[in-house]
């Protein structure tokens, strides 16, 4: 113990004596460990922590798919009932859907974020109300569902945690709902809702099979299920697919022949999109850490080489090899501990930034923290780093030839002895840096390409906000249309407004409203009916959005006022559904086929819009008039030269001058919405690029250190060469050759590594191949130039060696 303390004491003194080395080594490790710790804290919170529910590993998400919907997320009530009646592997199945009722109990109407869930939802998760009662089976019926459970946060925020609210009513959508319970504070809805805010009120779904919305083809609900004990996900999947096949045979009008059930562990269904990105980012930080380790190992090797005489002397005085190794390892361990401490500080700071800048698409990001598991991880990384960086230098120093080392003053040879290991470290660093730089470049190009995508409309100076017309005043669809027409007229009259329109579904706004497209003269069996994105819009919608007319004509006010329904379709719809025909003049219905209802005549074809974000391909689309298909929760669009704040105020004023109970929410400029649609890609790209840059910087530092060390060690050799007639250009060539060889070897390995790892990036890329040769070539040039720049100062130093001084030095 005493000797260990001596080693620590000596190590501290030695590090203090070489502040430049200590600072470079500690900062290098701190960057590597810090990046790793910060990313691990995200992975730990998002992917490694189990979901906060009872036996969360037994929970699965279910969705009904077919050939048209290969990656389904929804299910219908009728289908879920079919599954319940047949499944032997599932203990229970619950359904849920988002719900945004309006609360009008305050000074201004407000949207409340809520969920409607089947009675078994909370028992399935193992959640009991903290106060009051749960949802009983008899509550979950179409005529009895007007009751709610409050979230703990809403109870505290809205009702000041008053326990007496239980049993009282809250008016939502102008209907009284009885508050029957308060959910526990510990209950986290995680990703059950995509609304952006955690649900505040929870009401029964209130369905039975008699409701039209409960039909087998009405897929608008989401499902969570609990596996029976001893049943694996694979077994459940096999059984559910067998059930899907049986149902397709039994009900061929409602289930397509290729029906299947997607059974996914609940966590995976939520994190599937981000999990590959997070693992990829963690992998990137591991590469950064490896580069940092290689740098520090290289520095320690150089230090060990300069300590050969000291080590030889110690050995001559009786120090055992083990003792020498331990002493040198203590020094590297001190460096790694200091690096670890620096890394933790950086990680604290980094996790705060990650939470601040992370997109909402990453669930549980707010739970990210440097907890004991993260600290344990950092401790492990630091210890591993200490051993990784210190072992080779310590062993090298311990195996020094004592006689030769002690006679160094009279040595007759100049030049640096070959250190294959040090060269290997530089090669590995360059390879890792290339892999990360190539990944960053591919992601950056993807991001730029996604940003360059034309959304299909003009997002500039386009303002949007949502409002809802609820309550007895709007039970008559005509009242809805009257209100919307009046609002549009008032908005258009505002100064600076060029156009205004409404739509039931905002492009890139995250909404999903798909409907089967029925063609009057071409009946298609229900399972094969093509699906399109449905929009109910006002005539001026296309002008307000800047969606171009391709053929035919747009809607007119006369159409809106008339009784004959008309439709406009997107280019993709025209191309896919009428590949060899002119769709104009065809008559369609959206949703189910109803021969007794009127058909809408297609009057025009417009450009396609990116409904699901700039980095998603366009989808078949169809537009109907709001006056023929009224929609009480529209999105208002205003093209104006006025700023957003003024528009929000003026819109609110116009809407509330017509009806003070109308809630208004989500005001935003369209450019912000488009930008948000790329937030996850931006986050991944920014982080990966940071790591790529860090890797390049560290690799450049590595090659700089090695080249500087070599030049310093070769000063005598350079002097001799110059004395023998080497010109500066000869010396320059000699040094650059050395650096270039290492860089070239690293790049060859890097290209091979990047090619073999590129498949990991495939899911994150847009509009570019993971093996894009141009990108690889550009990155190759950049990395080579950076390496060359890193060699510049040592090379310049080498060419300025004065042979006379160098010879004296020798």
């Amino acid at each position: 113990m005493h000797t260990l303390w001596e080693d620590v004491h000596y190590g501290v003194r030695m590090l203090a004596k070489s502040p430049a080395f200590t600072v470079v080594a500690v900062v290098t490790l701190a960057l590597g460990i810090g990046a790793n710790t910060a990313l691990f804290s995200v992975v730990n919170a998002v992917l490694l922590h189990s979901l906060p529910y009872r036996q969360a590993d037994r929970l699965v998400a279910l969705a009904a798919g077919d050939r048209e919907t290969s990656d389904p997320i929804k299910v219908s009530y009728g289908t879920a009932e079919d599954w319940k009646a047949r499944s032997r592997t599932l203990q229970s199945i619950a359904l849920y859907q988002e719900w945004t009722p309006t609360w009008t109990g305050g000074s201004a109407p407000e949207i409340v974020y809520g969920m409607r869930v089947t009675q078994g939802f909370f028992p399935l998760l193992g959640v009991q109300p903290a106060r009051g009662r749960a949802i009983f089976p008899e509550d979950d019926r179409p005529d009895r569902w007007h009751m709610v459970l409050l979230s703990h946060a809403y109870w505290v925020g809205r009702f000041a945690a008053n326990p007496k609210v239980i049993g009282t009513n809250i008016v939502l959508d102008q209907v009284p709902f009885q508050i029957v319970g308060i959910l526990p504070e510990s209950f986290q809805p995680v990703s059950f809702s995509d609304a952006g805010s955690p649900p505040e009120v929870w009401a029964p779904l209130g369905y039975d099979l008699s409701l039209p919305d409960a039909c087998r083809t009405c897929q608008h609900l989401q499902s969570v299920a609990r596996l029976k004990d001893g049943v694996s996900v694979e077994q459940a999947r096999a059984e559910m697919n067998s059930i899907a096949a049986q149902l397709a045979q039994q009900f061929p009008k409602e289930y397509p022949p290729e029906s299947f059930v997607k059974v996914t562990p609940l966590g995976e269904s939520w994190y599937g999109r981000v999990q590959s990105a997070l693992w990829m980012l963690l992998g990137a930080t591991i590469l950064v850490l490896l580069i940092a380790c290689a740098n520090v190992a290289s520095l320690l090797l150089a230090r060990a080489a300069s300590k050969q005489r000291e080590v030889a002397l110690r050995a001559a005085l009786g120090a055992s090899r083990l003792r020498i190794v331990r002493q040198l390892l203590t020094e590297s361990a001190l460096v790694s501990v200091l690096g670890g401490l620096g890394g933790i500080s950086l990680a604290f700071w980094g996790t705060k930034l990650l939470i601040l800048w992370g997109p909402q698409a990453i669930p549980r990001l707010s739970e990210v923290q440097v907890d004991r598991w993260v600290l344990l991880f950092t401790l492990f990384v630091s210890v591993a780093t200490g051993i990784l960086t210190g072992l080779a230098p310590a062993l090298q120093a311990a195996h020094v030839d004592q006689r030769e080392a002690l006679q160094q003053t009279s040595r007759s040879l100049v030049g640096v002895p070959h250190s294959g290991f040090r060269s290997l470290l530089v090669v590995a660093e360059m390879a890792c840096a290339f892999v990360l730089a190539a990944g960053s470049a591919l992601l950056l190009k993807s991001f730029v390409r996604a940003m360059d995508v034309t959304p299909g409309f003009d997002a500039q100076r386009l303002y949007t906000t949502n409002f809802a017309l609820i309550g007895p005043n709007y039970e008559d669809p005509k009242a809805v249309v009257r209100f919307e027409r009046e609002v549009l007229e008032r908005i258009r009259a505002l100064p600076g407004v060029e156009a205004a329109g409404i739509t039931s579904n905002l492009p890139s706004g995250g909404g999903l409203d798909q409907a089967g497209l029925q063609i009057q003269d071409r009946p298609i069996p229900p399972p094969q009916v093509p699906s399109v994105d449905r929009y109910q819009v006002s005539p001026d919608y296309f002008r307000a959005m800047g969606i171009p007319l391709e053929r035919g004509r747009l809607f007119t006010e006369a159409d809106a006022a008339g009784v004959f329904p008309v439709a406009v379709i997107g280019e993709k719809t025209a191309r896919e559904i009428w590949p060899n025909e002119d769709p104009i003049g065809k008559r369609i219905q959206l949703g189910g086929r109803h021969e007794d209802r009127s058909w809408a005549e297609i009057v025009g074809i417009v450009g396609d819009v990116h409904q699901y974000g700039l980095d998603s391909s366009t989808t078949p689309q169809a537009y109907l008039l709001y006056s023929h298909y009224p929609f009480p929760r529209p999105c208002l669009l205003i093209r104006s030269r006025t700023d957003a704040r003024t528009l929000t105020r003026e819109t609110q004023s116009q809407l509330w001058s017509l009806d003070r109970t109308v809630p208004i929410w989500n005001p935003a400029m369209m450019e912000e919405i488009l930008s948000t649609s790329l937030s996850r890609r931006r986050f991944t790209t920014a982080l990966f690029s940071c790591f790529g840059f860090l890797a390049l910087l560290l690799a450049a530092t590595g090659i700089y250190c090695v080249m500087s060390y070599q030049v310093a060690r070769r000063t005598g050799e350079i002097g001799i060469r110059m004395a023998l007639g080497a010109q500066r250009s000869d010396v320059l060539k000699m040094i650059v050759d050395g650096g270039a060889r290492l860089t070239a070897s690293g790049l060859v390995l890097g290209v091979a590594g990047a090619l073999s790892l590129s498949y990991l990036l495939r899911r994150q890329l847009y509009g570019i191949s993971p093996n894009d040769p141009l990108t690889f070539f550009e990155v190759l040039l950049v990395v080579a130039l950076v390496a060359l720049a890193a060699c510049f100062i040592p090379t310049r130093r080498a060419t300025r060696v004065d042979p006379l001084v160098a010879l004296r030095y020798e």
């Binding site: 009279s410 040595r411 007759s412 040879l413 100049v414 030049g415 640096v416 002895p417 070959h418 005598g716 050799e717 001799i720 060469r721 110059m722 004395a723 023998l724 007639g725 080497a726 010109q727 500066r728 000869d730 042979p803 006379l804 010879l807 020798e810």
Partner: protein, 236 residues
């Protein structure tokens, strides 16, 4: 270029001053020196007298602060670094006290080095390296690395490297300084043989025994030539 009349080196009023911070060190003062082709000259004197500084200036590793220096009739006192390097490569062969062989290179590659910088063809290099190593009796160690040789053998290789480019003059700085007496004697014999075969040699030594190998000895003291002795017979 001026007529040399057999004079290989001529120095007139050469002075060398080193400036460090506020201190001026006069390393050489008023050096007047002439070396004829084929002469074997030794520069002797106590430690710190300026021997090595003089040899550095003679070998174009350094330039004088004042004075003139002609090498083979060409003024070389004010040449650029690049010009000095070129002349050093073609006209001067160096033998150092510490041998200064490059550890990473084989014997062959070490000897070949001055020819490589001269741009000599590979075939010619091979021939000349072979000849130079044969002259010093080291042709059988071509592929060895310096670390595999004894001190005496290393210095022989260093001599071969100095000879390989057929220089006008060999500059030897304490060539026996790192050798035992037996190997030291052997190297001195080698230099004497080279001189007998026509080589011009300028050697720095503080050992009077080895100074006596030269036909002419210049004694330096405090940067000045204080005495010059001629040997009637080379060798003692």
């Amino acid at each position: 270029m001026v007529e040399t009349n057999g004079t290989l080196i001529k120095m007139e009023g050469v002075k060398k001053v080193f400036y460090t911070d506020e201190v001026e060190t006069h390393a050489l003062e008023e050096i007047h020196l002439e070396i004829k082709k084929g002469q074997y000259i030794s520069i002797a004197g106590p430690s710190g007298c300026g021997k090595s500084t003089l040899l550095s200036i003679l070998g174009l590793l350094d330039s004088p602060t004042e004075g003139n220096y002609w090498l083979n009739g060409q003024p070389v006192a004010k040449l650029t670094i690049s010009e000095r390097t070129r002349i050093r490569n073609r006209e001067i062969g160096f033998i150092f006290q510490a041998f200064n062989l490059i550890g990473d290179l084989t014997v062959y590659e070490n000897v070949e080095l001055p020819l490589t910088y001269r741009g000599t063809s590979a075939a010619e290099r091979k021939q000349k390296v072979q000849q130079a190593l044969e002259r010093v009796g080291m042709a059988h160690r071509l592929r060895h690395y310096p670390s595999q040789l004894s001190g005496g053998q290393q210095q022989r290789v260093a001599v071969a490297r100095a000879l390989v480019g057929d220089p006008l003059i060999l500059m030897a700085d304490e060539p026996t300084g790192n050798l035992d007496s037996k190997n030291g004697e052997a190297v001195m014999e080698l230099l004497r043989d080279l001189h007998r075969n026509g080589a011009t040699i300028c050697m720095v030594t503080h050992d009077q025994r080895y100074a006596n190998f030269a036909e002419r000895t210049i004694h330096l003291f405090d940067g000045r030539i204080v005495e010059e002795t001629q040997e009637a017979e080379v060798g003692a």
